[in-house]
């Protein structure tokens, strides 16, 4: 067991790091989707019509 772990430590740590990054990415995509954010390549901060997509978020942003 320990021998196998020590032989595959780099792979295990690497795989965990990749899994963590992917989980973070998935979380960010889902969060943005729920907030109706991020679909647009132009950036909502500069969009004059941003209030149409997420009026609450936008109003809060300015306050």
């Amino acid at each position: 067991m320990w021998l196998w772990l020590s032989e595959n430590l780099a792979t295990l740590v690497g795989a965990l790091a990749v899994a963590a990054v992917l989980a973070l990415v998935a979380w960010k995509i889902v969060r943005d989707h729920r907030r109706h954010k991020g679909g647009c390549g132009g950036g909502c901060g500069s969009c004059p019509n941003a209030g149409f997509c997420h009026p609450d978020a936008q109003s809060a942003e300015h306050r």
Binding site: N8, A26, I29, G41, G45, P48, H62
Partner: protein, 723 residues
């Protein structure tokens, strides 16, 4: 107690710049009207109890446009505590037209004369004291772009709101008009808020349809009011609306004579006018536009010595991603004993996919930077004006071109900007065609093929832009001749702002916003897609056993891709790689490049030293690459843009019609280009005949008579008929 101050003014008068300055917001200000139809709210910096409301730019309070409806509805119904009216000092006569209407609302008004730096530079003088006396309200000077006088203007508005003192109504109208208005006021007293009584009376005098609709007056009262209006019209020998307009301008003229001293005569040409004589010239405008866009795309994406974007992209691809990241990362992972599959996932999947897209960031930043300069300098507004002339000839409105200008950054706000088009058919058609314009995410596709097969020629990117514009025009002509879209084009009124030196803050902000958004997507959506793609192209069934495959032609992805690939064979790219890339482009258009990065092993350097571009050039010819590029530029946009289409159409059937039309049109154009291109290579077959038939069909649809077009010019006759 909270105070609400509404910012009202003409488009391009500097309202949004002032809003940003006062609230600390960072909304980008485009130099064209019609993209903002919402009101924005923010708190005044340092005054938590003061709310600043930014209204869309309007020329009047008549409900001619969606912006005017939104602003008017807010001012009349929600009644802010004060109005801060931003007036462009360089165009004071036209701007004061709105001021005369705002004063009638009975809300305290403070007039802020903006662009005073330019007024002084032109040698003109505006006496704000005399102007204030004439208008019956406080007038302050400011320069929003330089941040001068902004806070003073806001403080004056706060003071006006606290005093709750309405300005005196200036003597705008002549005796007979005032007489009629007084009678109307008497008739509707008690039915409307006393504060806005005069405004309602003036609107009723103008026979404002929206006002009549909202007040729901009894028939006998309407007849009584109508009698007073008719008497006045008879006395002044004009229609009511024109009487009000003319008398407002006559009043403004008297105010200007008193308070404004112009150095140059009213008819003298300004520097902007002189430049416009060439730039918007009937013959020269279009060639200048082509040259400007060619220069932009050559500097950003060409293969010449001045192509800064390409040089930076080459370095990013060849040195940063390939050598430094891929080379070192792969070797390091192997050295520490990572399993080959993990090294493959990281290097050939994540880094190859994301790296292929990130490599194009420098080109995109240069492109966005140059487009932002053109926008800020005022040239983009001229392009809308030039295109209106061309569009109108084909039955389209120049108003449809504004969303297309916005779409050069991203299709989503472009599609959303179409909601300012009042005519439903024109709006639907604009939504359907806006996606044809190459957005930022499509740039890496163009950059990849231009670099791999066309020696980095700037003409490839320029042609992609004009193919997009051409597709809009051709679609417009074809669709306008159908029953669904027939009708006169919507009127398009826009002001050409004076040319000015671009603001570094504005340009860098617009460039960074667009660029950063692109980088963020590469780190999220593209990264996730690359991992999925790496798995699908690295695993498959060999001899009935599932596992990693040596040759990705036997992978799961190849199996699926091979089923779809024949559909694209008539377009010249019937390989599973091409088919898969086209479909992954639906997630995000830059994903096409990420897909090639994973499939062709961006990270790997082949034995002969070839990397992705060479490998790609092996699977594509110049013709098939161009056909692939055209199809991917014109076909269905990414899911985010499809979502925007669905929201704006608000109808599933119309959404499918839009997507179907775009895909069908893209297929036909790509097939014509590929099949007829093959004729030059000496190939003539069934595909050539089909392409010729499609071309003939397209020409017929373009040239056939429009049986839905009116032969007579339609002029609104409401006021004439009322005589």
């Amino acid at each position: 107690m909270s105070i609400t101050i509404a910012l009202a003014g003409n488009p391009n008068s500097g309202k949004t710049t002032l809003f940003n300055d006062l609230t600390g917001s960072s909304q980008y200000v485009g130099n064209w009207p019609g993209v903002t139809v919402e009101k924005k709210e923010g708190r005044l910096k340092g005054h938590k109890d003061v709310v600043i409301q930014d209204l869309p730019g309007i020329y009047s309070l008549s409900p001619y446009t969606l912006e005017e409806v939104v602003a008017r509805s807010y001012l009349v119904k929600e009644k802010p505590d004060a109005i801060l009216n931003i007036v462009d000092g360089t165009n004071i006569e036209r701007n004061l037209y709105l001021t005369t209407q705002l004063i009638e609302l009975g809300i305290p008004v403070v007039v802020a004369v903006n662009m005073m730096d330019l007024v002084r530079k032109n040698g003109d003088r505006i006496d704000t004291n005399k102007l204030g006396e004439a208008l019956g309200c406080k007038v302050v000077e400011m320069s929003a772009l330089k941040g001068q006088g902004s806070l003073e203007a806001a403080e004056a508005a706060i003071a006006a709101a606290q005093e709750k003192k309405q300005g005196e109504h200036p003597h705008v109208f002549t005796g007979s008009v005032e007489h009629a208005i007084a009678h109307i006021e008497e008739s509707i007293q008690g039915r409307v808020d006393a504060q806005v009584l005069r405004w309602h009376a003036v609107k009723l005098f103008e026979r404002d349809e929206k006002e009549l609709q909202e007040l729901q007056l009894a028939q006998d009262l309407k007849t009584h009011i109508e009698q007073h209006i008719a008497d006045c019209e008879k006395e002044l020998d004009d229609d009511a609306e024109s009487i009000i307009t003319n008398q407002r301008y006559a009043y403004i003229s008297r105010v200007i004579d008193r308070a404004v001293k112009k150095k140059a005569s009213r008819h003298a040409l300004s520097v902007s006018d002189k430049i416009d004589r060439i730039v918007t010239n009937r013959i020269l405008a279009l060639p200048i536009f082509v040259v400007v866009m060619w220069a932009v795309y050559t500097i950003a994406m060409g293969g010449t010595k001045v192509s800064i974007g390409t040089m930076a992209t080459d370095w990013t691809n060849d040195v940063l991603v390939s050598e430094w990241i891929c080379g070192n990362l792969g070797a390091w992972m192997e050295a520490i004993g990572c399993a080959p599959w993990l090294t493959g996932l990281v290097v050939d999947g994540i880094v190859a996919g994301v790296g292929a897209v990130i490599g194009f960031v420098p080109q995109m930043l240069v492109l966005f930077f140059l487009l932002a300069i053109l926008e800020d300098v005022g040239y983009m507004a001229r392009i809308a004006f030039i295109m209106d002339r061309i569009f109108r000839r084909f039955g389209l409105s120049g108003k449809s071109f504004i969303p297309m200008l916005v779409a050069t950054g991203c299709g989503v706000p472009g599609i959303m900007a179409s909601r300012t088009i009042e005519n439903d058919r024109d709006r639907k058609m604009t939504i359907m065609t806006t996606g044809f314009i190459p957005c930022g995410a499509k740039m890496p596709i163009i950059g990849l093929f231009a670099g791999a097969l066309f020696g980095g020629s700037g003409w490839i990117a320029t042609s992609a832009y004009f193919i997009g514009v051409g597709a809009v025009i051709v679609s417009g002509i074809i669709l306008k001749k159908t029953k669904l879209f027939a009708g006169d084009p919507a009127p398009f009124v826009m002001e050409l702002p004076a040319y000015h030196i671009p603001s570094a803050k504005n340009v860098l902000h617009a460039t960074w916003e667009r660029g950063w958004s692109f980088i963020k997507r590469a780190g999220t959506v593209i990264l996730a897609s690359s991992v999925v793609l790496w798995f699908l192209q690295g695993f498959g069934f060999v001899d009935g056993v599932f596992g990693m495959v040596e040759d990705n032609n036997t992978s799961l992805l190849a199996s699926v891709g091979n089923v779809v690939a024949p559909v694209f064979a008539p377009l010249g790219f019937g390989t599973w790689q091409g088919a898969v890339a086209t479909f992954t482009g639906l997630i995000a258009k830059e994903n096409v490049v990420a897909t090639f990065g994973v499939l062709y092993g961006f990270a790997e350097v082949a034995e002969d030293g070839a990397e992705i571009w060479t490998l790609l050039a092996g699977d594509f010819t110049a013709l098939t690459a161009y056909s692939f590029m055209i199809f991917n530029l014109l076909c269905a946009p990414c899911f985010a843009a499809i979502g925007a289409i669905k929201r704006e159409m608000n109808n599933a059937k119309w959404t499918w019609i839009a997507i179907g039309y775009m895909c069908g049109f893209a297929y036909v154009v790509a097939m014509i280009v590929y099949q007829l291109g093959m004729v030059f290579a000496g190939h003539f077959g069934v595909g050539t005949v089909v392409a010729l038939l499609l071309l003939a069909g397209l020409v017929y649809l373009l040239l056939r008579k429009n049986k839905y077009q009116d032969s007579e010019l339609r002029v609104p006759v409401r006021s004439v008929a009322a005589k």
